[in-house]
Amino acid sequence: MIQFVNVYKSYKNKPVLQNINLTVNSGEFMVLIGASGCGKTTLLKMINKLNPIDQGDILLDGTSVTKMNDTEMRRKIGYVVQDGGLFPHLTVAENISIILKSLGMPKKQQAIRISELLEMVDLDPSYRDLYPSQLSGGQQHRVGVARAFAADPALILMDEPFSALDPVVRAELQDNIVQLQKRYKKTILFVTHDMDEAILLADRICIIQSGHIAQCDTPENILKHPANNDVGSFVGPNKLWSNPEFIEARDIMKTDPYRISKDRTVLQALQVMNHYAVDSLLVTDKQGIDGIVWLSDLQNFQDYTSSLEDFISTDYISVYEDTSLKKIINTIDYNVSGIIPVISHEKQLVGYLTKSILLSSLSKQYETSDVSNTRSGII
């Protein structure tokens, strides 16, 4: 667990970090994000004391870093930097074992550990004896990550590790690091300026703006409830819509669904449908949803006075209010579903979705701030 307590840092008498109070829990993937120059890297490097703390304190598992021996504490913290940070004159194996060697691990054990680590980051063991200049950028990063994991530290600091890589390689490494973090239950502090990367990786995101923590929350909450306009604009207006897993049914559903009691007649149902121009109605009672009636089922039946009860269909999909948009899109059958009831976990109807609602929701990600106000015409 890392605790930042009132951390303050200035450079040439200008504060670069102020009032930093933050707790990173063990096993948490915390992403520090902000525009360049906001102080995020400075903050990261204060943990392993590459930057001294001017005021305040940073506690690692309750002990102040200022009371720890620099070298010893750094050996217990993994450290990955932007270009991988490999030493060009050392082979892959030597780059990894430099930490193991300083910890006094026997040579044979080092060799075994190097093999494990290379496998862990999906690198062929034949890379052991190559030099960094013989590796691609992505491979260098994998070695850098392997080195950070070498001594099996509980905490790993990553300073914009993937920012210089092309998108395909970056995506691979992002996947890899998330898996490793979950599998080995590491606490990771990850600095980036890329919101997409932050959303993809983080358990929590800490947004730093001009030396302050602007907001620290889960990716979902940051997307939905930016703490202020600055955060909102930093996150980007459409970021939420490009991350459909964070959009839940309740965020886009319409409340007050068109409903009808099962005691009503076919005629009454048809009239309601006609009135609201819908092709289905939810049949409800106090306990919740009984089912659904479809226009097509009613239209061909001539006995308008017969009870609706016989026409209730249970052939429908309902979604919980916190089911993600992504999941809804992936599961529903567009040819069949008309109305999609949204229910609470207590099975109470809270709203509904339709194909047109989904469509308009998804189309919002293409909205730009300068939408023209033209209401008619051909586009």
Partner: protein, 525 residues
Amino acid sequence: MSTFFSMFLERKEELLNLFIEHLDMTTMAVFISLVIGIPLALLITKNKPLAVIVIGIANLLQSIPSIALLAFMVPFVGIGQKPAIIMVVLYSLLPIIKNTYTGITSIDPGKIEVADGIGLSPMQRLFQIQLPMAAPFIMAGIRISAVTAVGTVTIAAFAGAGGLGWFINLGLNANDPNLVLLGAIPASLLALLVDYILAKLEEVVTPEGLKPPAQIIQQTPKKILTKRLVAFGLCALMLAIPVSSAISAVVQREERTIVVGSENFTEPIILGYMYKDLIESNTDIQVEERFNLNGTPLAFAALKRGDIDMFTDYTGVVSAVLLKLPLETDTEKVYQDVKTIMDTKQSVLVSEPLGFSNEYVISASPKAAETYHLKALSDLIEQAPQLRFGCTTAFSQREDCLPKMKSQFGIHFKSVLGLEGNIRYQAIDSDKVDVTDAYSTDAMTVKVKLVPLEDDLSFFPPYEAINLLRKDLFSKYPEIKPILEKLDHAITTEEMAKMNYAVDVDGKKASVVAHDFLVSKGLVD
């Protein structure tokens, strides 16, 4: 070429000794500059203002002429290998400090931060990251300084340090290009050898990973090990030779040793060999040679410090240069003054005159002498406006020479040409000049027929050869007093000139010429 080869064969043993001596001094000096330079460079990487100062000083040292640096140091550290090695060290420092500094400071600061960040201690960072990454720079500096050192060490001969500069110096004195080459060629070969060995070392200490990817050769650990062994072996050998010779010198150094010094021209060297020969063939005392000292002040400083026990010089020089006495042309008075003042004020003993004088003798070509009826100095002054004068720069500059001639007699030559050494004789022989400043014992006066002009005006101070000795010498070794005295009044000017000729023109070894003379006089067997 054939003379060069025969000279090589004749002197090959001496050459080998000088070669090893040269290598000794070079490796010793470079080794010392490494020990000083690299830590100093590492120290200043942390302090920019200090770096500017240190590199500035190293630059300044580099710009001092080596011979001046050497002469400056002798009064403080004496003669021999010590000032030579110090001089070479001072010269070698700049490339080592500068390259190490550049190598360390040009490492990407990001890498250093990572080294710290992953938990390397400052020492681990230095030895595992910084030094290996700076290795190509540092090695380049070492190679530059080592190769330069081989060249600079040749200057060391001027402070009696030996080495291949000895041959070069002898050759320059005798105007013998072969002898110069005999020193210069091995020195160049030594430079190439040193560079080759260091190139091997550079190859193994340069991390493979720092090369461009296309040039990286994946090597088996065994092959790397072999290469390292070879390179380190060669370097160890290079270091072992000086160390072993230093040890053997210490071990072999006899308790009873006299150091005979000599200035760096043929005449005193012959005299030095004579004293050496006399002492060694009459006593069991070991004699060490410290020949080739660059000039009277340096030799005298060495004598005062006890680096040498004796050296020969001339009354006129000692009087003017060392004692700064007013100009005096009375031969006897000059000798007595020198002897008394040296004894009382400097605690240095002066021997009886050795018999010959090495004075300035203005000499004319036979043709000019005949044409202008030149017999004495007074004739010269009269005829000067018709005569072309070729003289050494020393003669034209020294207060007691040409300037005094001008002020005292209003002498005015048709032309004055500055000529050095033996070129004067060639010039007079080929009728380019009519008159020159010769020395009375000069070898060339034997070869080139010159007409010496008598000093009827008592213009030149006397230059009687004398031996200067440390006062404690006779108290330590009373038995050598009568032995050294054997040379008192023993050599005529003509004999000395012939011996100089034998060495400078015939190319005989000074030691042989000295020995032959002593035998002919019945002084040794």
